[in-house]
Symmetry: C2
Subunit: 212 residues, 2 copies
């Protein structure tokens, strides 16, 4: 589960209470039950840590099968990427906290790779899909949206450009509302929302594109 908190992309980790890797930080998860879907299983295990209704997007990353990934037993794991909007702050148990993805502690198993793969997937999709809906609140100004992009991409993004691109593509729509100015003044920001809150591919990515 990733979320932008305090201007940084963070991941939800908990401290293992069992061997192997006792005490190490690790991703939430657990075993699949008979007759259950992987996605269902993920939600079930996450529910023990947070309110899963706050999960705005969930997608499969990859299935790990290296026999050495668990030193004690042979087991497979299917990794998922979950995204939480910026405006919610799920209640979490004692052993569970958010960690900036750019400063991960030692992680159990191959969880470090998984987190980094999740970040890469997110970064790529920010560019050619509307995934940002899953990081953003229902309504937001362009500069707020820009902050989310900056946090996730860890590089500068121009608000001008972001607005033009997302509007041209029809990803965003204006609500007609505007936000009140802060105490420092400034022109009040127009509010936007995502036209769709389900994953959509912007268009067959740019390069070598169809005749038109």
């Amino acid at each position: 589960m990733l979320q932008v908190r305090d201007g940084r992309l963070q991941v939800l980790l908990w401290q293992r209470a069992r061997e192997p890797f006792l005490g190490a930080w690790s991703l939430p998860g657990g075993y699949l039950e008979r007759g259950e879907t992987l996605a269902q299983s993920i939600r079930r295990h996450l529910a023990q840590k947070v309110d899963v209704r706050e999960l705005a997007h969930l997608e499969q990353l990859t299935t790990l099968s290296d026999p050495g990934r668990n030193p004690l037993d042979w087991e497979l794991a299917t990794a998922y990427l979950g995204l939480v909007p910026r405006d919610v702050d799920p209640e979490v148990p004692e052993d569970t906290t958010w960690h900036p993805v750019s400063q991960l502690p030692e992680l159990a198993f191959d969880h470090r790779e998984i987190v980094l793969a999740g970040r890469e997937r997110l970064r790529a999709k920010l560019s050619y899909t509307n995934v940002a809906f899953a990081l953003a609140p229902p309504e937001f100004s362009i500069s707020e949206l820009r902050e989310l992009y900056v946090a996730a991409l860890e590089r500068e993004v121009s608000a001008t450009n972001l607005q033009r691109v997302l509007l041209r593509r029809g990803v965003l729509e204006a609500t007609g509302q505007r936000r009140e100015s802060g105490r420092a003044g400034g022109r009040p920001a127009a509010l936007y929302r995502f036209r769709s809150r389900r994953l959509e591919i912007t268009d067959e990515f740019a390069v070598l594109r169809p005749p038109a």
Copy 2:
């Protein structure tokens, strides 16, 4: 396993000899053994059908977990996409043949979805990676390469553009060789090869790209 044959993208299928779906066409595969990697397992099962050394590229697609996918038992499957270059013609057993992806017969399980997902993955990656190396022979002319793209994308592709784009990106390099003209004459085609024969991402895809 996908390959371009007779100018069309085709998939290798075999006819099931057991229930469920006895007699239906299905993708090659089988059960994972203890201590084995998924990729190893795939290669082991494919080896029973073809010479796996001819597999130029193998990548994981997704893991299917719908409890209803097998009517007789509860089982998961991890689907892989394998690509075979155009110049080889693997020996296959009696019960196994190639089928055009655009004219699939009834397939067992969820194999139809898998094949179509594989095609989509391939199409997408043709645009922003060098995957085409896995469909192409070691050396080829631009118009031969163009035929591969046309077959996989099922739409027109201009040779002019293909050449310029792939050369500019440094994906292709000239061998210096040229091919002899056909019986109809015509200017002899220059031969190219892929600079790398392992998957490489061209660049963080076009849209919303870094400052430069």
